[in-house]
């Protein structure tokens, strides 16, 4: 049996940073982690019997952890009895996987052609400027991550912003600022699309 959080010497220093002054929360954090690893075990048990399910396992693992730190990659590799390099190879190949933590809301601007010809680049520029971070980065308060995404196939609503799962269509740079404000306040966004 492999111990949670101790998947191998190589990745020992990769554990999630827990701030010293938050020792009380540290214990809570530990509980959460072991729950997450228990979920991961269940997941691996379910999928590892079928061949070629590595991508599926990693997708689900990302849903559990929010991202795929090296610790998790090594754990999956160990369990599936494949080299870590193979797992890491897959993680870094596909754009869906993230090896860095993401903010509470991932704001993705669709960079498909239909959105591009209708001004997606302007939206991206506004977003970057408004949040003062670059593409692929997360705001220091861990609320927003900016990404560009490939075509989501809702081209009739171009240009599109996808916030986590919610699609906001036909938005202008001006409206975008309002949407950011509402998410920041933690309210649900009831954006009129038409």
């Amino acid at each position: 049996m492999i111990q949670h959080g101790d998947p191998g010497e190589t990745f020992r220093e990769q554990k999630l940073p827990v701030k010293d002054k938050e020792k009380g929360r540290g214990a809570l954090e530990k509980d959460r982690r072991s729950k997450q690893f228990a979920d991961l075990d269940q997941l691996i048990g379910r999928y590892s019997r079928e061949k070629g399910q590595l991508i599926r396992i990693l997708q689900k693992a990302q849903e559990i952890f929010g991202y795929l730190p090296e610790e998790v990659q090594a754990y999956v590799a160990e369990k599936l009895e494949i080299p870590v390099s193979e797992v890491n190879g897959v993680v870094t190949f596909y754009s869906l996987f993230s090896t860095r933590p993401r903010g509470k809301y991932t704001l993705s601007i669709c960079m498909g052609t239909a959105c591009y010809v209708k001004g997606a680049q302007d939206l991206m520029d506004t977003l970057k400027e408004e949040l003062n971070i670059d593409e692929g980065e997360t705001t220091p308060d861990q609320i927003f991550t900016i990404k560009s995404t490939r075509c989501v196939g809702a081209c009739s609503l171009a240009p599109i912003l996808v916030a986590n799962e919610d699609v906001h269509g036909r938005i202008s740079p001006g409206e975008l600022k309002g949407i950011i404000q509402t998410y920041r306040k933690g309210e649900s966004v009831d954006h009129k699309k038409h």
């Binding site: 061949k51 190949f93 869906l96 010809v117 009739s156």
Partner: protein
């Protein structure tokens, strides 16, 4: 109920057929009102789920629950005007229905028996309102083979699919036809792969069937990566059983017992419907062991793409299905010879599979009659970009671009001029106005320097810069290049660098030659389809829009007013309220002004970052085509890294 024979299928069909017939316009005195609500991705994103929920509640509230049914359907194709609601009998099509419209709709149409004019489709140019689907030009010029069930049946009910003669083709094949006969029918129909390259489907099946090693596999390529293409997604969302049926037929023909659908994780609705459909088919005995009481077993499972465009290429896709990095490998051996886990594997695209049942049901003779001499049947296109009716259409092969863009698509919005239509995604090219009357099929599109691709069509108007579009596609290809072979990995990067140079105003005339030369090298030397076709957007724009390139390079001017570095920013003095926000945000300190007088931008200092445009609360800062051609003085000439002949390596 386990379905074992054609009789069993007929029994299910009879149960559902009256409902379906009413939706097709038969007045069969059902005494029932059916309200269809589109649940495709576009309508879903504009809250069609909420529309349906409100509708159901309102019907119960008004005591209409028993005589009215609300049905969710797949994509009608009329995405621009979504969410779509259709009421039968009467075939009334309502567009852009908002949740708050429901009360009025129920009151007026269902209780009052009158049409609610406000929500009807309105023709933008004539202002005419049309309640009937057949009077709308968008639908009139189409002929639906692949999309016949989209917007008619509830994709989450297998019974409704069976009522549309679903699974009859499978039963007929498994029970009464030899494998050879079925393959022969597909071959004679002339069906060609709809994924883009147009390989004859029957030949592919024959090749896979002729292989000895077992087990064999059937794979459905639903990794629709082309930006601006959503045909496959709509088919999967609107008619998932048609894909399951066709894959099972393919399994029967080539002797496979396992199938995989490789679908993008970005299509959550399609994934849900597929999972549901597979479950229902298993329950009905249409997937699993001993289909129709024979010894033929077949089952299908899903595999998910994780965001890599190259996985649309079949050998890369195979690696991804096996859970590996999606890198392509050289062919031969073809997947039909050596595919998944080294075994023969048949790979077809979603739309190709969607044609199979129709061909077996209505005969190859009928299918042969559709389309042009080399390309049979119909093609689904997704229209997007600068076009009035964005959406999903299906037309016979050989329809002209003019019909598609101006009749069905309703032309260009805002009285702008049509400039080009881009087909084939990052592998295709831009087709200019002079080719509008070209009847489209695989061959004619290739001649224009573009390709059929999977069927995305992006329309561009005079405000789109073709050099910028070429740069956009190259950025995509360069980003998605998997890095396995050098011509694609390094070549696309160099190509992109030249294009960036041109759009930023540092291009040289020699660059144009270099672009072309490098494009041909990448095309000829790359390993897979991604690299071989990546230069197409560059080559086609160079062919048809060379003058735009020259304007960028020689005059340092972007005629369409897109390329930021080549624009001038100025303040509209009438709109300016002298708030000074622009001056505050300008990093180059190019903006000066004082309270109560309009601000000014110094073009000499301006770095064209457009930060002021975004900041201005009154939209008073305009970007315009650069009037004075910048005097490059000492900067002119060849500089390090430019494509001048003397800077090129000699070998």
């Amino acid at each position: 109920m386990i379905i074992k024979s054609i009789e069993d299928l007929k029994e299910v069909k009879e149960k559902y057929v009256p409902l379906i017939k009413q939706r097709l316009g038969h007045r069969n005195g059902l005494g029932l009102t059916q309200i269809l609500v589109c649940h495709g991705t576009a309508c879903h994103s504009s809250e069609s789920r909420e529309v349906r929920r409100q509708l159901e509640q309102e019907l119960i509230r008004r005591g209409l629950g028993d005589q009215t049914r609300v049905i969710k359907t797949g994509c009608f194709g009329f995405c621009q005007h979504g969410p779509i609601v259709m009421v039968h009998p009467g075939e009334t099509l309502y567009c852009r229905v908002r949740p708050e419209d429901i009360r009025e709709l129920v009151e007026k149409h269902l209780i009052g028996g009158q049409i609610l004019d406000r929500l009807l489709y309105q023709n933008d140019s004539t202002g005419e309102k049309t309640p009937a689907i057949e009077d709308i030009r968008f639908f009139r010029a189409q002929s639906r083979i692949v999309l016949r069930n989209c917007g008619v049946i509830n994709p989450e009910k297998i019974g409704e699919y069976i009522a549309r003669d679903g699974y009859f083709a499978l039963a007929g094949a498994v029970l009464h036809k030899s494998k050879k006969e079925v393959i022969e029918t597909i071959k004679k129909s002339g069906l060609r792969g709809r994924g883009g390259a147009g390989f004859p489907t029957g030949t592919k099946w024959e090749l896979a069937a002729a292989q000895d090693p077992h087990p064999k596999y059937v794979v459905c390529n639903a990794d629709e990566g082309d930006p601006g293409a959503f045909m496959d997604r709509s088919i999967l969302e609107g008619d998932p059983h048609s894909i399951l049926e066709a894959m099972t037929i393919a399994g029967y023909c080539i002797g496979a017992n396992e199938g995989y659908i490789y679908v993008r994780a970005e299509y959550p609705i399609a994934v849900d419907r597929l999972e549901l459909a597979i479950g229902q088919a298993r329950e009905a005995g249409l997937l699993g062991r001993g289909l129709f009481g024979t010894s033929f077993d077949f089952d299908i499972s899903l595999r998910f793409g994780a965001g890599a465009f190259v996985c649309g290429e079949e050998t890369a896709l195979l690696h991804s299905v096996m859970g590996q990095r999606g890198e392509p490998r050289p062919r031969p051996p073809y997947p039909a010879q050596e595919g998944l886990w080294g075994k023969p594997t048949l790979i077809n695209n979603v739309e190709t599979f969607a044609n199979i049942a129709a061909i077996l049901r209505d005969g190859w003779e009928w299918y042969q009659g559709e389309g042009t001499s080399t390309s049979k049947g119909s093609k689904v296109f997704s229209l997007a970009g600068k076009i009035n009716n964005t959406g999903l259409i299906e037309v016979p092969m050989g329809t002209t671009l003019r019909t598609i863009i101006f009749d069905i698509g309703g032309g260009i919005p805002g009285n702008k001029k049509f400039k080009a239509v881009q087909t084939g995604g990052p592998s295709g090219g831009c087709i200019p106005a002079e080719c509008l009357d070209l009847p489209i099929d695989y061959e004619s599109l290739k001649e224009t320097g573009s390709m059929m691709g999977s069927g995305g069509m992006i329309v561009m108007d005079e405000e789109n810069c073709m050099v910028d579009i070429a740069r956009f596609y190259l950025e995509f290809s360069q980003d998605e290049s998997c890095g396995r072979c050098t011509p694609c990995r390094v070549g696309t990067k160099r190509l992109l660098e030249i294009l960036i140079r041109i759009t930023e105003g540092h291009g040289e005339m020699e660059d144009l030659e270099l672009l072309e030369e490098l494009s041909y090298d990448i095309r000829d030397a790359s390993l897979c389809g991604l690299g071989q076709t990546a230069p197409n957007p560059v080559l086609s724009t160079l062919r048809y829009f060379k003058s735009e390139y020259i304007a960028h390079v020689r005059d340092k001017r972007c005629p369409a007013g897109v390329c930021k570095a080549l624009l001038d920013y100025s303040v509209d003095e009438e709109k300016c309220i002298a708030c000074g926000l622009c001056a505050g945000v300008c990093a180059a300190q190019a903006i000066t002004g004082a309270p109560k007088t309009p601000y000014r931008i110094d073009p000499e200092k301006c770095t064209r970052c457009a930060a002021c445009v975004a900041k201005c609360p009154k939209q008073a800062i305009q970007k315009g085509i650069r009037k004075d051609v910048a005097d490059l003085g000492g900067e002119a000439g060849i500089y390090a890294g430019a494509g001048g002949a003397e800077n090129r390596a000699t070998f």
